[in-house]
């Protein structure tokens, strides 16, 4: 063994940056090809998921048109000629029946549940001014407890739920609230499930928040939505 000490190898900064640049370029290439390669399939999946969810909450619907309602109260069809994103615009889906008549409007609502956000899709029936039903989009609620909102007969009996607007169409005449099990007295109240109060409250809040925001924008334009465009 020689006593010569080998100096610790160091890489020059230029070489380091060159290698890192190379690796970054390689990684960028991989990501972009994966993104491009799956883009169509992902979009198709999302479309099918939306369709399935909307058809579930509006059973008579046969086709769907997607709209956004801007804060100024304008309603624009999505997808036609690349609509520019308006800040504060809210998406909703109009479901049309087999005669191309408006069957209902599906709106997404979200509220904090027991363990994470509960994202639901509910159907608004413009003729009766009620929320006719709802479905869960995503929820991480406790199995066997929180997911009772979809099967509990008493809870489902809350629907149709009154969602009338005030005379000036600015807000709901009566805010939708979830009340303790057995104390529902008004058609705009939701009777909670015993033992799943938090999730029941989340459903009520999700519907109320979305309805308060969106219905005043949609209802004045209902006549324009009556027929499938």
């Amino acid at each position: 063994m020689t006593s010569a000490v080998i100096p610790p190898q160091t890489t020059s900064a230029v070489a380091m940056i060159r290698t890192l640049g190379l690796i970054a370029a390689l990684c960028g290439f991989i990501i972009v090809s994966a993104y491009q390669g799956t883009y169509d399939a992902v979009r198709e999946n999302k479309r099918i998921a939306v369709e399935r969810a909307v058809f579930k909450v509006i059973p008579t619907a046969r086709s769907i048109v997607e709209y956004v309602a801007s804060p100024a109260g304008e309603i624009v069809k999505v997808g036609a000629g690349g609509t520019a994103a308006v800040s504060g615009a809210v998406k909703f889906y109009a479901g049309y029946d087999k005669d191309n008549k408006l069957a209902g409007i599906a709106v997404e609502g979200v509220a904090k549940g027991y363990s994470d956000n509960v994202r639901i899709l509910f159907a608004y029936d413009p003729a009766a001014q009620t929320v006719s039903g709802f479905g869960v989009v995503t929820s991480r609620e406790t199995p066997g407890i929180g997911d009772k909102i979809l099967v509990d007969k008493n809870f489902l009996a809350n629907f149709p739920l009154e969602a009338k607007l005030t005379a000036d169409l600015k807000k709901l005449a009566n805010a939708i609230v979830t009340v303790k099990h057995g104390s529902k007295t008004n058609p705009w109240e939701i009777d909670a499930i015993t033992g799943a109060t938090i999730t029941s409250r989340a459903v009520g809040r999700a519907i109320n928040d979305a309805a308060q925001l969106l219905l005043p924008r949609i209802v004045p334009h209902l006549s324009a939505l009556k027929e499938k465009p």
Binding site: I23, A24, I31, A34, T38, A49, P143
Partner: protein
């Protein structure tokens, strides 16, 4: 069987049994506990991790002479993040329901310490073939571990296996098993079983807590 095949087989089995990432090294706990509420979720998570682990290790092994030592960790992380992004889009393309069930934990594969650990400890020092075998063995061990957790939690917590009801309508599910505490209990129980087996074999005692640092 010649010597080298036996060796490779040993290398592969290492990850499944003696160095099982979940039950022996106690790594990668976050996804192991968070998504294993059902056997399907557990298996999908295992496969996603397998993909990321294998691809990352192969790439690291191929580039090992090129990567400057000073910035190797950053490079590994970028490579891992790349493959996680790929797997994220792949799962979205395959099934949105699965994507929603796994949630943010797909992206959190990036910080699964097994992957960084393998890249640093094995792939950066070995040529392609041994790296591949080692990565596959580790992945298989991790996937099996996840499956063992997911299956127990689903059977006890929901009374089903792969969504098929196992018991009659009278079965009252142990809901706690699919809640967060259940994850800790089931993994703890598996570790106890492994420790008991290791003791009975009179092998060296199971890892001390200090080994589970990452």
């Amino acid at each position: 069987m010649n010597a080298s095949t036996t060796e490779r087989w040993d290398e592969f089995m290492e990850g499944i049994w003696r160095q099982n990432p979940l039950f022996v090294m106690v790594l990668g706990l976050c996804p192991a506990l968070a998504v294993t509420v059902s056997a399907v979720n557990a298996l999908s998570m295992g496969l996603a991790t397998t993909f990321v682990l294998t691809c990352s290790c192969v790439l690291v092994s191929l580039l090992r002479k090129l990567i400057p030592k000073e910035v190797r960790i950053a490079t590994y992380i970028v490579i891992i993040a790349t493959f996680v992004t790929v797997v994220d889009y792949l799962i979205q393309a395959i099934s949105l329901a699965l994507y929603d069930a796994l949630g943010a934990f797909i992206q959190l594969i990036v910080v699964n310490c097994i992957i960084l650990g393998r890249a640093e400890a094995h792939a950066s020092k070995n040529p392609l073939l041994p790296t591949l075998i080692n990565a596959l063995g580790m992945s298989a061990g991790f996937t099996l571990g996840l499956f063992a957790l997911g299956a127990v939690r689903e059977i006890l917590g929901a009374g089903t296996f792969f969504g098929i009801a196992l018991f009659g309508a009278d079965f009252q599910p142990w809901v706690v098993m699919v809640l967060p505490p259940g994850g800790f209990f089931v993994l703890g129980a598996w570790l106890l079983i492994f420790a008991a087996i290791a003791r009975r074999k009179n092998a060296r005692p199971l890892s001390s807590p200090a080994q589970g640092v990452r």
